[in-house]
């Protein structure tokens, strides 16, 4: 298989394209695309791909880009797109629609700070704002994960037990524009991994029907329950997809979360994406110095792997959650869900929120050291701490 030194955007665009091409034996590939920094190279790569069967439609907005993909998916095409930041915000109505339509669309989101004021650098606030929609969300920490999880996402989304759109997220510039060695799977292998899409509720000209008409509360309730049940099946199906991936490609994408040195740890950091890999350096160094410290690297955000997180942190009494995002009025989004995971299960944990690298600030080992220092000195958890700011104690106590 060809390993190349490419950017994260290159890996994402390539993966979307070969996954779409793999559906040439089915109803082809189709998508709407619209540019936005820093994901533009992804849709450029998709637009340049010589699809055997299908069509890439350049449109006038992110909202329409998802609209085209929804229409394409409803007819049984493999549909996908990419966006970022305020582009995702503008797309929101159709993002929600794709989820409620149960369409296995895959979207790559390059995590960029929401504005104004404008800022093009990494921040997860954009994709995390979609947390309440029926989308699976996965977060990558390097270029290889971008390629692998994007391809895996199609198999997961298209599984009849799931049928939920899936979001694959990567950090702006730190991944999107950074060159690194990446194994880009060949078409033939992707063809084997991704059989033609079989969408059970697809539109047929010989069987006209309306999707999305007016329904009563009871039907609404049961549709929500269906979504919830599908979400509950995701971890299991995800693991099956990883296993199948290994059989075809010879390597296995990571689990919903990675527990690193957590077995006997009294202190655990919870982090995602590139912040997690930098934190792992610190954990490795401190372990070597004898500290009982571990790291949970989160890969799946929706559904939130509550049980796995509790299990990984079983020995820890101090947990620091690193959030490169901020939910106004509360704090970090990862922290909120982590805190909820322990609610009713453990009451002996100091679970503290640290906001780091907001707006793309460089999260260095020193940042992580400062976090650990604060965490070690606490006798109870408080409100979110702005860890990049000198004495950045947040509100609450």
């Amino acid at each position: 298989m060809p390993v190349e030194v490419v950017t994260g955007n290159h890996a994402a665009g390539y993966a979307l394209a070969v996954a779409g091409e793999a559906n040439r034996f089915g109803r082809g590939a189709a998508c709407g695309i619209y540019p936005i920094t820093p994901q533009t190279e992804i849709v450029e790569r998709v637009a340049a791909f010589p699809f055997t069967k299908g069509r890439v439609v350049p449109v006038e907005s992110e909202h329409s880009a998802m609209g085209v993909s929804i229409g394409a998916s409803l007819t049984g095409a493999r549909a996908f797109t990419a966006s970022s930041s305020n582009g995702l915000a503008y797309m929101v109505e159709n993002i929600m629609t794709a989820g409620f339509y149960r369409l296995p669309i895959v979207m790559v989101a390059v995590n960029r700070t929401l504005g104004p004021p404008w800022n093009i650098w990494a921040d997860q606030g954009d994709s995390l704002m979609l947390r309440d929609f029926p989308w699976v969300q996965l977060y990558c920490a390097n270029n290889q994960e971008v390629a692998d999880l994007t391809i895996l996402a199609f198999r997961l989304a298209e599984d009849h037990r799931i049928l939920l759109p899936t979001l694959v997220c990567l950090d702006a510039f730190i991944i999107s524009h950074t060159q690194g060695e990446t194994d880009l799977p060949e078409q033939e292998a992707v063809d084997r991994y991704l059989p033609p899409l079989d969408l059970p509720h697809r539109m047929r000209h010989d069987d006209p029907k309306t999707l999305g008409g007016l329904i009563w509360p009871d039907v609404t309730t049961s549709l929500r329950m269906e979504i919830h049940e599908a979400m509950q099946r995701v971890p299991e199906v995800y693991d099956e997809c990883r296993e199948a991936f290994r059989e075809v490609f010879g390597r296995e994408p990571g689990a919903a979360l990675d527990a690193y040195e957590t077995t006997d740890a009294d202190t655990v950091l919870v982090a995602s994406a590139t912040v997690a890999t930098t934190a792992r350096e610190v954990v490795k160094r401190r372990r070597a110095a004898g500290e009982k410290i571990g790291l949970v690297k989160m890969r799946m955000f929706r559904p939130f792997p509550e049980a796995a997180l509790r299990e990984a942190c079983a020995s820890a009494t101090r947990i620091g959650v690193l959030d490169r995002d901020y939910a106004a009025g509360l704090g970090g989004v990862w922290w909120q869900d982590s805190r909820a995971a322990f609610q009713g299960h453990r009451d002996d944990v100091i679970l503290q929120d640290y906001l780091v690298g907001i707006g793309g600030g460089d999260v260095t080992p020193e940042t992580v050291d400062r976090v650990l220092e604060d965490l070690a000195g606490r006798d109870r958890a408080g409100g979110p701490v702005w860890a990049d700011v000198g004495n950045g104690k947040g509100g609450g106590a």
Partner: protein
Amino acid sequence: MVEIRIHGRGGQGGVTLAKLLATSRFLKGQSVQAFGLYAAERSGAPVQAYCRFDDEEITNRNLIYEPDHVVVLDPTLVGPAILGGLKAGGWILLNTIATPESLSAEFPENRVATVDATAIARGHGLGTRSVPIVNTALAGAVAKLLDLPLEEILAALDHLGFGGGNVDAARDAYRLVAEHGPQREAGSRDGDARPGAIGRGPSFLAGAGGDLPGIKTGQWANEQPKRQQYVPPCNHVCPAGNDVQGFLHALAEHRVDDALEILLRTSPFPATCGRVCPAPCMASCNRIQLDGAVNVRELERYAGDKGEVKLVPAERREERVAVVGSGPAGLAAAYHLALYGYGVTLYEAGSELGGLLRTGIPEFRLPAAVLDRELDRVLDLGVEAVTGVFINRERLLELARNHDAVLVATGLQELRALRLGVGEVEMVSQGIDFLDQVRSGVPIRVDGEDVVVVGGGNTAMDAARTALRLGAASVRVVYRRTRKEMPAIAEEIEEALEEGVEIDFLTQPVAVQRMAQADGDTGEQHLACRRMELGEPDSSGRRRPVEVPDSEFSLPCHRVILALGQSPDLSVFPEGTEVREGAELLGLLETPVYAVGDLATNDGTVAAALGSGRRVAMHIHQTLTGEVVVSGEQTRVRSDVDVWHDEVIRDEALRMHLFERRPVESGEVIGLERRHTTFDEIHAGLPSAGEAKRCLSCGVCNECDICVTYCPEGVLKRVGHDLVFDYGYCKGCGICVTECPRNVVFMSHL
């Protein structure tokens, strides 16, 4: 792990260099990262790129703060910043022609290596001459410094599809890179760039006006709009040196007094020139390409007739200047000298002031009242006038002894004649004399006569039109060249034709003939003429008329008026004196004596005489005081201009499509009946100054503010007479430039 930081400028290929280095290590099985620091780069801005490689998987996702090595793509970036965090023992590679030894004092704790990658890149045709792409050459140099075999970097080039000159450049640099060891042990390094905790920034609300620190739109721009100014053609050609664009701009804004004030800076006679000037400004007007020249002459008259300006001369000086001759040149010189504060005495041989303005231009073109008003303007400055005194050579020497400077502005007094044989004494007169007699009230009538006027200048036209008004049965002008060569003002020729004057072109009078009659010698009178054709150009550049053989014919004729032009009377000067403007005459005396106006230049127009008088007045002032005098032409920049051009702007440099068409306004003309029987002024003048709005203001900002209106970012403001660009937010879109009709706003490369 090895970490390399690359300092370059946007567009130089620093990120690609990082990728080349990373690829060469990747091909050897290492884990790699290559990335740029992306922000508001534009080409040329200082930027950084990074490369790290390691045998282990790289998980660190930070920027590189403590590089093992540093590469500098552009020698102008060398400064303390490039050393930030550089590890002891690390090398610094510079793209420069300097030797590493010569730089070791600057980097005493590090290995210094240099290579002239720019020359190598140019030698292999990489990039453009102005922006050579140096990254592939530097990749070769880095390989050498990392002790890598050349083949490993060549493999990376090949893997990424770089061929040809890139491979040769890498090979050359690998061979040519020179190195010099550190001069002392590395100490602790200042300026470690690793970030600590950040401080609290400003409040959004406090900075809601857009003052939050960070990246402004302007930093993306490659170009910035700036303001320039050209010389409008009218200003360039005006013989008097008038700021034509300037006074038209004032008129267009209904500032009539300001318009007059601008004109009075260079000429005491706007109302006069506004009637009699041939107006070369109009012939050169760029508006001709759109819908006809701006009627500058009538607008100058408007300003001269309607404006009111109180002139205040400079403080009275002790020096006295004598001016001989009170024509336009002498008056202009007297005017400007009086404004400078000199005591001026004007000597006029005739009984009235004004020279040719008074004696040679008929009332219907220049009413005496208009001239008198403008003369008063000069006299009101304290100029003393002595009339009826002819200055001969002796008296000139006397004046020179009694004054600090003397100007001679006697114009052209020698009238050219034509020998026409018998009868010329009674029948032939000079046009200048004819006009002067009529003006001064000599009761001349030409009722029923056939009058022939010889010549093609304004005197010929004026004499012909005067004869018509005095009752002539017919008036013919004979001229030996064609209409094209006629020196008379085109409009005056038109008006003469309207009034019934006939013109015979290519005609040369030969002799007056009287047809013998049986009953005596009072037979019919004729003027024998010959046809001419145009031959080779003569010394004036005009084609010389040549007689057509056997082409004689005769015209009925009772009176011949000659208007053949004049030449200077130099008898006042010693033999062999070179008479030209600005040259001091009679060099034997200490007092400088100057010739001005037609006497010196032979230009033949009022405007040229005014310009000559003004220039010599300035020259005298400069000579007597040593002060440097700034002429009107150099004071026309009214406000801040980034670039001042001395060139004249032509219509092709204007955006003509942005101007609306608008017909020329000429004002009323009195009826032909009155023109045949009275000497009433035939032009009534413009009823308003609206015509001034037709001025395109070529190459000069007239504050139309279209640029301000169209700026999509709202970053262009008018502050007083200045255009203020907020470059912090100007994205360089250039709309202000494409919307500026007069080529004032232009884009400047950053």
